[in-house]
């Protein structure tokens, strides 16, 4: 589906309605405004990378989408306006957010963490989903009874994504999944992420500092600089764009 779109996001009208669309989104913490009216979209089943240097507002964007901070502007998800709604209501509508720091329930076991991912669902299909997820993350099956806090960083990241998948989301928000992980682990992780997107058809909004990895797995990308979108388009084009280099390296 996403391969049908050749035009950059910002300019041409898209063939099908995006699963997520933000228009003129502003957000901040207390008195400080971090996002100054940004707009972007994620296609159904597509992967959009949100790039930017530290402090550009990437994590803030994800938090804004989930109603974790106060926002103004519009957020449309699967045809519905969700700005201003409570976080748990947004989660119930099908957005799964894997926050920075993973958000693992450290005191609970791996199994309990997974059960929480399926909290909103009623029995049907959970077992089948679990099997599929263990297919992506076999190591989790081995560690079911272990306390989640004792897992390695990479395993916790896998657990976090697995938990998010159990929500059967339409949109997956990934906040810096590579953070603090060894390169080999990151490679493995991103391979799995690409597979998930392909096989499950889940749209993904990916916030990543690692530009190369992000653009390898994404089909669209936006560049955020101090709360404003300064470039947007197909992943390949953004990768070649000088503004990305300037944003991260300053020259």
């Amino acid at each position: 589906m996403s391969s049908l779109l050749k035009a950059p996001l910002v300019e041409a009208p898209v063939v099908e309605a995006p699963v997520l669309e933000a228009v003129d989104l502003e957000a901040g913490y207390g008195q400080t405004k971090v996002l100054h009216g940004i707009g972007f979209a994620v296609q159904a089943g597509g992967v959009t990378a949100l790039l930017g240097a530290n402090g550009a507002g990437k994590t803030t964007t994800l938090r804004a989408l989930c109603g974790m901070i106060r926002t103004s502007g519009q957020i449309r998800f699967a045809g519905e306006r969700i700005e201003g709604r409570a976080t748990e209501e947004i989660a119930r509508r099908g957005i799964a957010h894997v926050p920075d720091g993973r958000g693992t329930f450290l005191e609970l076991t791996v199994e309990e963490n997974l059960r929480l991912g399926a909290y909103m669902r009623r029995g049907a299909g959970i077992a089948a989903d679990l099997e599929r997820i263990f297919g992506y993350f076999p190591r989790l099956r081995e560690r079911l009874r272990q306390q989640a806090g004792t897992l390695s960083g990479g395993e916790q990241q896998m657990l976090a994504i697995a938990r998010a998948l159990l929500l059967r989301p339409k949109l997956l928000l990934l906040d810096e999944p590579s953070f603090g992980l060894a390169p080999l682990v990151v490679q493995e992780l991103f391979g799995i992420v690409a597979r998930i997107n392909r096989d499950e058809g889940v749209a993904i909004l990916l916030v990543e500092q690692n530009v190369g990895l992000a653009l390898a797995v994404a089909d669209h990308a936006c560049l955020l600089e101090t709360g404003r979108i300064v470039a947007a388009g197909l992943a390949g084009e953004i990768g070649r764009d000088a503004s990305v280099r300037r944003s991260y390296l300053g020259y």
């Binding site: 976080t87 926050p99 693992t104 329930f105 450290l106 609970l108 909290y119 806090g149 390695s152 960083g153």
Partner: protein, 290 residues
Amino acid sequence: MDALLHQLLSGLATGGIYASLSLALVMIYQATHHVNFAQGEMATFSTYIALTLIEAGVPYWLAFVATVVVSFVLGLLIQRVIMRPMEQAPALASVGVFVGLLLVFNSVTGWIWSYTIKSFPSPFEGGRPLLGGFISPHELGSTGVTLLVLGAVYLFFRHTRLGLAMRAAAFNPVSSRLVGIRVGWMLALGWGLAAAIGAVAGMMVAPVVFLDPNMMLGVLIYAFAGALLGGITNPAGAVLGGFAVGVIENIGGAYLVGTELKLTLALLIIVAVLVVRPAGLLGRAVASRV
């Protein structure tokens, strides 16, 4: 030796009551990081409700269940109405609100039902002391009820979906919201459950110490000591601590300090635990890797 065994069993019986209240305290502490100073007064209030029902002719166990339900609802309402705005408040403000609740409950109880000491029936009375004379029917019965309640709470939290959600909301409210858990209502449920447990504790202790508005104040202190001794972050620890304090109180009161200084003993336990090992016997730092 006989006397010691009697003191031990007696201590376990009262310990069960302390354990129940300790559990209630720890449940609220885990979810909100606040200690409900008014837990005892709420339990006393519930016990008086039970007495009113019983005196109106309601059969004991029916009154028991009704009181537990009413207490649950009351606890839930208090969290939703009074405690919610205080969730983010500084320590002094939240402690103050709890103290205020304590005053209100204590005073309203005395206002409605007067300060004269009343007797409260036990469903277990009648008959000779059991187990060779070491334990009274009420002590045995109340221990049984306490263990039943604690067991039910354990099963609820470990093996039900809602119990898991409540634990999750207590540990990590942000992540809980991200999986769709309505954290606010989980807190309210926790308060309701704590109030219900407190009501049971009140109804079990009232036949022994007689009912008056200040009945649970001392019990609350023992429950604090138990929760701290066992580990205020660990429900199992709190329960164990409660039982332990019951035994220590009884044996200490009989052989060491005399019954007059039992509360001081509780105070000493509290100070000793907080100075020597603040996490308590079973509380442990949760292992986590970043």
